[in-house]
Structures are given as C-alpha cells and as structure tokens.
C-alpha cells in the first residue's frame, strides 16, 4: 500500500548494498581458506560422533557377579490379625485352628499364615488338578495349616471326605495300600521320610515337612498322635471294618471294600472282604444294612440269585449254604439282625461252617 508510514513497517526494509569498489587479494584468499577451515571443524565434529554403546554407561555382568552382595537382611515374619480379647492369660495369643487340636502350636512351632479352609467350590485354588480325585470321594472341606519353627516348615492338610469308606477309597486310590500301614486306635497311616499320610473316620490327612531333619520328623509324628484324638463324624468307623481289624485281626492291607455291585449284584453295596486265611482264594465277607428288614430282603435276593449257578445245600431263613455247580466251591451266607456275613470260595462245607462260626463268635462278643 502506498503511503505507509515507517512505523507500519514490520521488518528491515533495506536491501544489503555494498558501497565499496575495491577488494583485496588477501581478503579473497582468506575467504575460501576460512570456509575450508569451517568445513574441517564441521568434519571434526561429525567425526567425534561415535555410535552409542550402552556398554559405555553400564556395568559388565561379570562385574556385577563379582560384587554380588548377599541379602542378609532380617525380615520380620508376617504379623497376623488377632481379634482383641482372645489373648490367653499366659500372654500366648490363642490361634484359631478350627477343628484342629490347638496343641499343634507350641514348643517353638508357630503358625505360619493362618488356617485356610476350602470347600468343594474352591478346592482347585489350593490343589488345582488333583481336586477331581478328592471330589470323587465325597470331599466336603479341606483345612490347611503351615507350622514353622525357624527354617523348618510342616504343612497339615486335613480333608473331610464325609465317610470312612470314602477315606479308605481315597487312600487306596492314592496308593496308600502299597505302604506299610500302621495303626493308632481308629487311625491308620503310613510314614514318609518327611511326614505321614493316613485316615481317621471321615478324615483323610497329609502331613509333610520341608526337610528330613529330626525336629521335623519328631513334630510330624507327634502331630499324628494329636490327630488321633480328633472327633470323627459321618457315621464313624463301620462295624464290619471294626470287626475285621479289631476282632478278626485281619491286616489292613488285606481288607477290601466294594462300594457297589458286590458279587456283580446291583442290590448289594458296601461289602467288606477279607481272606479266609486258609491259604486259598476263599474270603469272608461282611455287610451291615440300614435295618434288619433290609438285611433280610438282601439276604433273600442274594440266595435266590446265587441259586442259578450254585446248588442249594442248606436253605434256612437266616442261613444258606451253596455249592458251585462246576467249581464245587462252597458259598455260605448268614444273617443276624442287620448284619449279613459269609464265606465265598471255601473248599468244603466244614471250613465254611467254621468260618461262619468264628464270625458269629466275634459278633456276639461285640
């Protein structure tokens, strides 16, 4: 726009103008030389650049290994919440061990963490893939504690499997029968180098330490003793089992239990077996029905079904003796009250009668 004032100009309006007319040789020699110098300086700067190497500002791993320091800090154990007012008079805080005997804690053994409980819905959180097996044997609850004494740890897993047969089944399924089973009252168990595994009534337990040192093993054994006093539920120990072990002195290993389909009959459940003890294949069996009437009905059905393959020799309301058509072995069965008992595969009727008599003798003594 024409007529713009000087103040309206924003930037320098003047063009660069050279008024001089002469240029010296020295100046014109100096100019290019100086530019060459600048290029050299520029090249020097570029040459100074080296590729960034992280190792430059790092410590070699070998150096770190050399100077590695041992972490020797003392770390205080976790302080667990204790409900106010639950402290014992002696100043020892009572710990909530639920159904477990509180005497587990003491003599230097402390609870590490707190009692953990799991039911069928969350058992997998604790033992994941193995949970299916426990659930198949009537699992209802797991109580889990860890005891610690210094660097020694012992964990106790106590599974409630509802009933004793379940426990026995689980015990066999996990290979317990292959060990040398010990007995302690109603408890049966076998020991491992770091603990013990066994059952008691409706409970199945596993005790395992983190090493084989004496304190751990001693503690594990004393835990077994303390667990023996655990009150059981779920029907307690079945009478047939008790008779076999306590009265007939059958070894634990030799007792077997058929839950369903005894003798392949779907109406026969919960039968207990043991060898007759004559060196042959003959075995005695015991069953306790829910009532005398039930027992009578089952007895009748059993005799009736067996008669298809056996020749009936004695047929009384509470006693039957049958002989196999081809094998000629004796099958004798008897009923008293709600109990059904007998012998299968005896060589001759006399042996069968003797066995029945022994069972009856034990039973009356009960």
């Amino acid at each position: 726009m024409a007529g713009r004032k000087q103040d309206d100009k924003i930037l320098n309006p003047l063009k660069r103008k050279i008024l001089r007319r002469r240029f010296s040789t020295a100046e014109l020699v100096f100019g290019p030389l100086f530019l060459v110098l600048l290029v050299l300086v520029g090249a020097w700067i570029v040459l100074q650049k080296n590729n960034y190497d992280p190792g430059e500002r790092d410590i070699a791993f070998t150096q770190l290994q050399e100077d590695s320091v041992e972490d020797n800090l003392y770390r205080r154990p976790v302080e667990l919440w204790i409900e106010p007012g639950t402290a014992l008079a002696g100043g020892v805080p009572s710990v909530d061990l639920g159904i477990l005997p509180s005497s587990l804690v003491g003599e230097g053994w402390q609870l590490d963490g707190r009692l953990e409980s799991y039911d069928a819905s969350n058992l997998y959180e604790k033992i994941n893939g193995a949970a299916e097996q426990y659930l198949a044997y009537g699992f209802t609850e797991l109580n889990y504690v860890t005891l610690a004494q210094g660097d020694n740890f012992i964990t106790l897993e106590l599974y409630d499997q509802t009933s004793f047969p379940n426990v026995l089944g689980l015990f066999s399924a996990q290979g317990g029968g292959t060990h040398e089973v010990k007995k302690n009252g109603d408890m049966f168990y076998f020991t491992t180098p770091i603990g013990a595994i066994g059952g008691l009534g409706n409970y199945y337990f596993k005790i395992s330490g983190n090493n084989e040192s004496d304190p751990v093993v001693e503690k594990a054994m004393s835990m077994v003793q303390e667990l023996a006093a655990l009150p059981v539920s779920g029907g307690g120990i079945p009478l047939p089992y008790r008779m076999l072990t306590d009265r007939l002195d059958v070894a634990f290993k030799q007792i077997s239990y058929i839950k369903d389909n005894a003798f392949q009959y779907d109406f026969l459940t919960e039968f207990w077996f043991a060898p007759l003890g004559d060196g042959g294949d003959a075995r005695i069996f015991l069953h306790q029905a829910g009532s005398a009437d039930e027992a009578a009905a089952r007895f009748g059905s059993l005799v009736e079904e067996q008669a298809y393959e056996y020749e009936l020799q004695v047929n009384e309301p509470e006693r039957a003796v049958l002989q196999h058509e081809y094998l000629k072995t004796i099958f004798a069965v008897s009923r008293r009250g709600d109990m059904i008992y007998g012998v299968d595969g005896a060589g001759d009727p006399a042996a069968a009668e003797a066995a029945l008599a022994r069972i009856e003798e034990v039973m009356t003594g009960a």
Binding site: S24, N50, Q63
Partner: protein, 553 residues
Amino acid sequence: MTPNPLQIQVQPEGPPKVLKKFRLTNVRIVSQAFFFAAFILAVWATWTSRLGGYPVSRFLEMDPLVGLSTALATGYVYRFLGWGLILLGVTLVFGRVFCNWMCPYGTLHQFIGWLVNIRKHPDRWKSNYYKPIYFLKYTILTVFLIMAAFGSLQIGLLDPICLMYRSLATAVAPASDMLVGILGNKVDWVGIDPGLLDPLLFAPGSQNRVFVGSFWIGLFLASLVGMNLVIPRFFCRVLCPLGALLGVLSRYSLFRINRDVHKCTDCNLCLTRCEGASDPQGALRLSECFGCMNCIDDCPEDALSFTMIGQDKKQVVPGPELGRRRLVFSGVAGLLAYPFIKNDGVNTNENYSADLIRPPGSVEESDFLSKCIKCDQCINACPTNVLQPATMDEAGFEGLWTPVMNFNIGHCQLKCTLCSEVCPTGAIRKITVEEKLGKGDYAEIGAISLGTAFFDRGRCLPHAMEIPCVVCEEVCPTSPKAIQTVDVEAKNVFGEIVMLNKPFMVPDLCIGCGICQTECPVTDSRAVYVTPVGETRSEERRLLLNKRNQAEA
C-alpha cells in the same frame, strides 16, 4: 610490488564478480551461521539417546571467561577448559572477532537486531555511535572476577554462552517440544501420521519436560533480545562480561580496522551497520570493535580496511573507557558483593534447604559453588527431567539456576551419568557407572548417595489409612532394596481383613535416587521424600556414623 599476503592489497579494477562473493562480510555470515548451527546441534545432541561422542560442551569449554574465572575460584583448570586459550590467541591476533564471527548469542542479537531495524538514515547510523553506558560491561567483569577470586562464581549469570545455553535448554527447547507435541496431537486426531511431529525434537521419549522457574529465564532472554529495538546489540555492547574480557585483550591485537584519513570524507556511512559501536568514523575504539567488517563494505571511498597496523594513540582508543575511578569503584562493589551473597545464610552446613539435592558426582557444596557456571547443560542432558534450575529458595542468590534435583518431577536414573559427563567445569565431576553404584574399584567406597529417603507416616497409605500400596518398595532399585516392609494383617475400619505391607527405610542402603518419591501416589506432599542429609559428597552433611551392612563385612 611484491604482494605480502598479510598486507591488504588494493586492486584498482577489482576482482571477478564470483570472487566478490568471498568477501569478508559474506564469509563472516557463513561463519556465524555455522557456529550458531553448531551450538543448536550441541543443545540438541545433549540428550541420552544422542550423546554419542559429540563434543557438546566445547563451546562452554572454549569460553575463556569460564576457564579464567574457575581458575581464579578453584586454582585449577578442569579437563578441557584449556581450550579457552584458542580464543585468547584469536583475539590477540584479530581482536574481538569472536563476538561477531563465532558467538551464537551475538549472532542471535545481530540477526534479531537486523530483522527488526526499521530506522532510516540518519537514525540508523546515529544508533551506532558509542555511548558512555557501554563501559558497564567492564564493571560487571571486574565484579564477577573479584567474586570468583574469593570463591563465588557468578559469571554464568551473564556470560553469553552460559546464558544462551541455559535459555535454550530450559526455556526454548521445552517450549518448542510442547508446541510440536500439541501440533502433533492435533494432526494425529485428524488421522494423519504426525511423522516428525510425533517424537519431541529435543527430548524424544520424555513426556513434556518442565523446568521450575523457566518463565524467568525465558523472560530474561526475551527482554535482552527485545532490547535490540532500543539499542542495537544492547547485551553485547552493554552487559557482556566475555566481550569485556576480550575487549581488554583486543588492545594488543595485531589486526584492526584502519581508516585512511586522506580518503575519508567524514560521511559517517561506516556507522550504518557498525555492530560494536566502535566509532570507525573517528578514533576507533579497539576494545569495542567486533570485527564485523560491515564498515569496509559501507565506505564509498574505500577508505577502510582490516589490516595489521600499529595502534597510534591519535588514531585509536585502545583500551576500554574504564578510568581508575570506575575500576576502583567496581572493585569495591565486587568486594562487597562477595560477603553479601555468601553470607546470605540459606546454604550453610547448619542451615541448608531440604530440597538442595545435587546431582551424582557433584563436589562438596562450597566447592560446587566455586565451579558451577549455571550453564544448565546437565539439566538439558537429564533424561528424566529431575534436574532443575535452582530457585532462590533452594540455594539462595548464589546458587540461582544451579542444578538441583526435584524428585516430584523425576528420579535419578540408576545407570545414568550424563550430567557428570557434560559438565564443563567439574562442579559435577565426571564419574562412571561403577563409581556411581559403588561396584568394581569403588566397591569399598560404596555407592554415591544423593541423600536419604524418609517416610511421612501420617500420609503414607498403609501406615496411616490401612490401604495397601508400596509402590515405593516396588520401584526401589537397589539390591537388596533400601525400602523394606513390615507385613501386618489388620482389620480395617470397614471390618475387612487387609494385608498391609508397611514400608520403612534402610538408610544404609538408600542412594537417594528419589524414584520412591517420584512414584508415590500421594502427589502433593509426598509420603516418601528424599532430603540431602546423608549425601556422600559432604562430610558435614553426613547422617550415619557407620553403614551397618558395611560394618559387618
């Protein structure tokens, strides 16, 4: 006539046009552009992913005022500070040409001054007359040098290289990155790949760097640049202590502008573009002349030349206009300024700020203050933004704009020693990662500790509010961790049982890196914070009598 290469030869016809392009003023502009670009390159390259061998500190190390004043303050010349001799040599031969051929700050002022200059003749040349106020820079130099001799280094406040570096690093570069970031974000939302706008140009891999008090640094820069509207090259003519130092020396230079009085018609056109206000139309003021060579171009009579010639008192004013009276007064000012600044009482070993945390490798505080030139190059190099220019709160006026660590903003990166590598004066001694972490040869001495972390248990979530947290423990980089926890189960106020990992400090292991403070979620006043007590650089500011873990070994 035998041509003498050092003697200016006047050619009656003049050379071919192409060669005219190589005249001094053109070469000067190339030189200025080159050094300006080199300076920007140095600022740009001072970043963790780029710092691979570039001599980024060379500008600062070549500054003879840095070398001289730190030598006065400490008695020694650190690492590369001898490079200042090059500049002294150049000045003794050609005069104060640094100011108009190399100095990036001078270039900035000249360029801005030229760009906004709308004066007409004769205002144009009148603005380039020498003014009495131009003596001020010599006073400033005297005051600074006397203070330095006592051990308080303040040249960095006005030394042009330090000043420009500080301004670029803490005000311009982050501002540029911020604008680029905003622009890139807008472009990104539209759906276009932002390309170069995506990574920040100066600090890629960081999120918007901020610098405490950068407003004042930026304002200082803007004011000085703006003063070019009033007095062309105000800073260079009036304030610059480096220019003053070179001006004092330039009286001995071999070359100078020579005016052929027989040709001169006293037209004053030589003043039109005189940068230094050195009166080329009369008795040349040697100490003011920047050697810009503009006057030679502007003389229609060819009366002016740059030549090796003596310093006849009738033709030139060789020294600065600093009479004995002014010299004595500025000396007294410097003498008084030292105790006033030093005795401020905010940075003694008994009373020092809890925020005064120096970067790793820093020497003991009083030594630090006699070495730090406040160039803030360390601050620019810092990858986490933890290094900040100090305000008066942390270090008083004496330590203004010196580097301090602000752990609210960042943490000290464990295996990073960049600040110590770039420091030109040794205020932050060059250290290796081994030395910083106390490994290898330094295993006996142990790691460098910047301070000690403390917990404010009244604000800490697990301690005060029964809320799980312990970010501090997670990020603690030492092994074993200097932050340990007491694990406590508690029933909280809502009746739920919660596990609280309550953190506490193991001061023996703490290296004061501050990452616990940076990551603490209680953001306003952190529940864990680092203070400088226990820093290894100072015996006086020690905390522990013995490190307990070392006592065992």
